[in-house]
Symmetry: D2
């Protein structure tokens, strides 16, 4: 166990307000990444469309970096993809290759300084990194860099990774040995990085001559490869490939480095793969329903979860509804399996943006509800099955049950497409601390009472895994359900104090 | 025919880019309005939540005006409700009554100057107006005001209305006679305004002492009344009432003035009602599915349209899908009636914001599509019924059919929940000109070819009206289908040149 | 005496911080105006350069309006001329005539809504007004407009003037009779405005066909006419004419209307002139030294004031210094007359911008001084004559004397180029209230003690007037010295409560 | 000669418009710096006032960094000191020590990313650097850092310096040996930096425990030390000390490191001092007249230059005027020495801000002049001596002579307080390239003809140096006059192509 966690720090102008979860009770994903090598195309524009399709993976900031074989160009800003880019700021992003990034802050404060891609100049020209994931040994790596005399200007893993890659592989050679790079120094360096780093990461890297796609040895974050007529692309999800009409080839393999350059695509072993443990929440919530992951279409997987749930926890009811939007496919699956009619019962405001305006006490007493309204006519007198994808803190399930009941439902039976979440995630998903997790504090019966449902059933772990991958050929990280982490987690991270890891305590050592 | 249309003009700083329709082929609504009289509540915050719920009715600008019985306070800005307001700008909006407005520009350029509510000072203190609709005799009214020596600083109906209301009713007395105002000068003035104005309007008016709700004699725009524990509210749609947990009382009647003040709510006859002709597009597209309009829940009405469509135009098929989000209820209805299974087939990007970035030619050839992706696994090999709510220009139907077919659908049968749109709207809905309307240029068979569907059927007018209101007790404006306008339209408006009515040609007379 | 002053109000979003006087102890001028009629020139660009030269007359906001004979175009914004304009916002300002305005707020809050020129549409096309001055019967005029049923949306005189001009002259006919307009309705209306308004005003008016220059019957604010090769211009000061290389023709006469149009310049009698009482502070402080006013070059007049001061209040001293920048010409004059050498003794920060950062108490004790430093080597051991242009509140004279003494001066003799200011200004100069004026509270001996000078002498009124205009052919408003106001001032304005005239008290009546 | 200059590069978002010199013909200084260690004071506010006084040294961006012994805090932004700071952004800048910086871009593009102070985290806590000067071996140092595997994210010397200081001194030990640091690792590191770097630099450094002031071995940039009651300060010029009422102690010596911490001030030898060659332009133009440099008050030195000029180049004339503001003291000196009366002849717009609006061709023909007007009455018929401080490109001297002559001057004799500038500066002053320097292309007679003067005289080098320092005890860098550079300059810098050193050519190597 290390005590170096205090070096996670940084310095900031003025702390900006932390984004509120509002009525949302979902884990928050860390990012969407993209890369393209396509001479002859407007790669910045292409990156824009891909990031637009990956918006659901991060709404805090977005950035695109391009390279024309000589210089690199970058634009990044706080805000949504549709707000950030315009013809004026895309035009200077010249070149035939690009990487892009949408960020949802996990560690590191909400500040433009932490936006990605992070770019630096190196011995071998420009280097840019877009990162999805979380290095569990980041504080050790920071210490090593600082000890080498490399100053750091942010608290992000991305700067860390660029500075590790900026050094010759031999700097890290005590930790690794060359692996066959074909003379490409960046392959050497990425291999060195993979040797010394631990945790979850999918990377899109831009250099003067190539784009590199990198996936950690457990493949904990998704990363897919696609082909355009004029080149190749990589993206966190295949929905981005579809949007730009790229042809899906395959996923980047755990531990693999894939290079996109004038020679096409080339595969290198980055490090020996370990047991594949893709984050199962990609299926439950993160990925868009039209994305394909490990050969599974998300929408189909969610339908199967709904069907499985109907098998595991049948109920005599008149109507199946889902919590929009993520639980709709599972609700349709539940309906198809159970024969209970599907319909819409909850209406979600389509224009949800981040707002920090909350009802005051009097308005709260008035019952002001920001996000959902009911379709009372569909619910009135019905015994309703309310399908949700997951319950984290449990702060929205109660109000939703009450809302449905208030609209005239005779009974409300909650069915959840995943098992109870009893453990925090330390691999970059902003979920909750132990004490915040409702299933850490209550058993299922207790939760049922807390949320006021007539019945409550969670999908079993086996049932969920069967539904996701029918022959169980793939394996997943299910640590938040089981507490079995695929990576060794430093003890101090269990101390439920992540919120205190701000920079002020930090500079001081 | 009048030539006064040249006085519609105004002056502007610099023309801002016109919002693009992008892949969207819907008419655009003119606004959402709100009003509240509620001593003891934070009325600005309440207005915020109501406007948040009415966001779908206008995304260009938003504003809130409050009054504390002495002074009035206002904040308005371009942008979404969630972006515009914060604790800092809500705090100064003091008082116990408020009006609010979300704007979707129709006439008048896209500029903060045209944001509402529009406030002025009058003999009797502050006066503010939030307006949904379009005055068809606006240019005549402008001329009359200018002739009276009142200068105008915008091109909006809202300023027009405030300046008409600023004058004693007797100024307009040649045109109207007192109607029983109980000594409230504002009632007199609103009656005078209603006597001289023509067109569609629902108004929320704030004065020093009261809120007034006004609806044109044909009730062309919706406006509902609700009750809070501490007061009363009015809103364009009942979904806003639900959001703030106000109890729905009734709609404002055509031609009625409703006053909210310390005496509670009081009804006045504003002008003799004419045949009720609420815009039928409120049912087809504008209103949120959870709103209640003329006693009909929108979601139910849309389901019935889908059922009716299944009866009128049955088809041998394997799957019913809807174009998200507005056609989903009708698709469910079609499925329930026809017995053909419902599922999701199209995925819509949830983070659609206004973007002006378009694919360039090369990317367009690549097939970049911004808004929809398909769920190929659900569509593959299926004979698909694709339900849409309406077709205006027809520019998105073709690509959608192609997209579904490209995802493997064996057949694509398009079913539209409304009749062919053959006539423009002159009552404030930004729809299209004659030459832009696909159904003005082609018959159904021709449109089918244009969009490449295997079959195409529109819902019949009677079928649609039956579905909306089962006993046909209510009547609607269906001018865009029939060409029968409830209001006499000046000839020049038919000249298909509305786009030329910019201010430059205008100042000149 | 009227009690209508409560109708001065308006409504605002959120009160912005009032600009601080900081270390400055000068009256603040209300505005600089400009107008040009010049087919073939880029009149907006020309207006930019003229406003740049007039920046010293107002730094809060600036605006330019142009007209091309059809439409009008306007851009206005908070900030300095150099900050506000760029090629992008000048380009749309098309046309062959323009007016421009720099604002220094007096009444009316600091808000973009109050920026000028104020433009409206009228029966006869666009109308824009740029105004320098203050209408002393503004509240009466507001009441009359409101009674006529004209709503007002700001608290500025400018909107008032546009709305008065928007009405046919006959509306105001009880008050005036036609005066010979040659059929130009705008001349009629301006004459009507001049008949009903009281106070100080110089106006630049733009209409569809012409620019009009108007000066109140006492000529209280400056306004000059110049000739370009291609047309004519008007400007508050001749320094603006010089900057754009326009040839000075003459000043607009008190009570005169000058029209610039395709016929060249034409003069009309606006109203019978009264005794000319140009504000004497134009000579003392407001005007730039290179401007020519009533045939007097300001720099020369100030030198003569310095000479006169040396005659009236000689002193045995070693060095004459001036308070930069306005008192430098007088210091040079004092030196030339007295034979005492002139040198620089105070250095002023050239980058003074509005800042709201003030020293806290500890720093104030440290002696932090923001604006002036001394040149100790020039001052050391010297008996110093410190020439200043005027003393209003007296808040900077004391620190300046202390500063000079602290730099080693043996004696500090203060000489002021104007008499003691004992009365507030009600004609639009933001000076101070009675209780703030140091000369209202103390006699000269008392002030000397307050500021810690070894001696203090003010220039006599006669001496000042002789210096300004050698043969006393011109007359000036000297009310702030004498209390003899050229215009009758409503009693309530003397009540020292102008600061309370905010809008909140106002809407209510 | 090195070819490493191509590693000066960086990457940027979008090139911002380069600031125009407009009518200005002066060299541009690189920066003003400040540092304070003062427990108990609001050091951020103190830094604000000091930077306010140093505004003339850089107007592009400004920044303040503070440290409370644990964490560091920073705020920086494009714009003037008065625009950038407010109570909101000063409040979070906690601590008892601070450094500050005003930037005038030389190398490195105009971008917020290049604003200073530059802060990083190191092994030993936060490290921030504010830099005035230019490292002539920057490209070598960049290469060495890159070779060590340290990535760089800007093109500024400041980041370079922080990254050099981030490494243990031993990293640079081949180049230097310990020098007596008393165990303070930062002293070791600064000594190492001084051993390897060449060029002009004055630094203010902030660490967790102390402020360090560093001056290059030639003392090419000024840096002074002052004492407050509660602590110590350092500043580029003493005018900043005066503003915050700090007591001037002495200048930092060439090659010296001065530490401010709880032990008071401590001096260390940074490197062996070389011949003192302070940039002589500090006397001619850069420094504020009230600053004290090497024991000389600038204003006095400039007066003496004027006197010397009168001796070297007497002329029979009626009037001496100076080009405001920098040449006024010299003009006064010329007048005092020659007996020819001094007066003001040119008026400079006091509100000069950066503007990119230029007269178009037609307006240029009209003679639009942005910056200066004349006082014709003072000039008419006079034989005028026009004193200027220096001539670089010569682009403003001609128009000024023409302006004065146009105002009626009978003769115009130009006197320049410095010798002809025939060589560019490579030590951080943005002056001009060889081909731009008018004195590189013409002899004095030729320049006289170019600018249209009746006579032209430059001050001799000896005369200037005598005037600056009466006993010639101090020595200065006069390379721009003599071509004798105190530092060896890489050949490629002479190639007149500095403008091409943009980043695009750069990343590529």
């Amino acid at each position: 166990m290390t005590k170096k966690h205090n070096t996670l720090g940084g310095n900031v102008i003025a702390p900006e307000s932390k984004a509120e979860h509002l009525d949302d009770d979902h884990p928050r994903e860390a990012c969407g990444i993209f890369g393209v090598y396509a001479p002859g195309l407007d790669v910045a524009r292409l990156a824009f469309f891909a990031l637009y399709a990956l918006q659901h993976r991060g709404q805090e900031s977005t950035g695109i970096a391009t390279c024309d074989g000589q210089a690199a160009y970058v634009h990044k800003s706080m805000g949504l993809v549709s707000q950030v880019y315009n013809e004026n700021n895309l035009a200077p992003l010249k070149g035939h290759m690009a990487i892009g990034h949408n960020r949802y802050s996990t560690t590191g404060s909400s500040h433009i300084r932490n936006a990605q891609p992070y770019l630096i100049e190196t011995m071998h020209g420009p280097l840019g990194v877009a990162h999805n994931g979380n290095l569990t040994n980041a504080s050790d790596l920071r210490s090593q860099l600082l000890e080498r005399g490399v100053g750091l200007s942010t608290t992000t893993d991305s700067e860390l990774i660029t500075q590790i890659l900026a050094a010759p592989a031999t700097v890290w050679s005590p930790y690794c040995k060359p692996n066959g790079s074909g003379g490409d120094c960046w392959i050497d360096r990425i291999q060195a990085f993979m040797a010394v780093s631990e945790g979850a990461y999918s990377l899109a890297i831009i250099t003067r001559d190539a784009i590199y796609a990198v996936r950690d040895p457990r493949g904990m974050r998704p990363l897919s490869i696609g082909r355009l007529e004029q080149g190749y692309v990589i993206a966190s999800e295949t929905c981005a490939l579809n949007t730009i009409n790229a042809h899906f080839i395959r996923d980047v393999a755990p531990g693999e480095i894939v290079r996109l350059n004038e020679a096409g695509i080339t595969s290198f072993e980055g490090c020996p793969p370990e047991k594949h443990t893709l984050c199962v929440f990609e299926y439950i919530y993160f990925s868009r329903p039209d994305s394909l992951l490990d050969g599974q279409v998300i929408h189909q997987a969610r339908q199967r979860m709904g069907r499985q749930l109907a098998c595991e926890a049948p109920v005599d009811a008149d109507l199946v509804i889902g919590v929009p939007d993520s639980a709709i496919p599972a609700a349709i699956g539940f309906s198809l399996e159970s024969g209970i009619p599907y319909n819409e019962g909850l209406v979600k405001n389509r224009y949800i943006g981040r707002t920090f305006i909350q009802p005051d006490d009097r308005l709260r007493q008035q019952g002001v509800s920001l996000k959902f309204n009911t379709l009372a006519e569909n619910l009135q007198g019905k015994r309703v099955v309310l399908v949700d994808d997951s319950i984290v803190r449990g702060n929205t399930s109660g109000p939703l049950v009450q809302l449905v009941r208030g609209a005239g439902a005779a009974e409300v039976h909650v069915r959840v497409c995943s098992p109870p979440i009893r453990h925090p995630c330390f691999m970059g998903i902003d979920m909750a601390t132990y004490t915040e997790l409702i299933a850490h504090r209550f058993d299922v019966e207790g939760i049922k009472k807390q949320i006021g449902a007539d019945s409550l059933h969670y999908l079993s772990l086996d049932g969920m895994l069967d539904a996701i991958c029918q022959h169980r050929s793939a394996t997943y990280c299910t640590a938040c359900f089981t507490g079995v982490y695929p990576i060794s987690i430093p003890d101090w991270l269990f101390e439920d104090n992540r919120d205190k890891l701000y920079f002020e305590e930090v500079w001081g050592i």
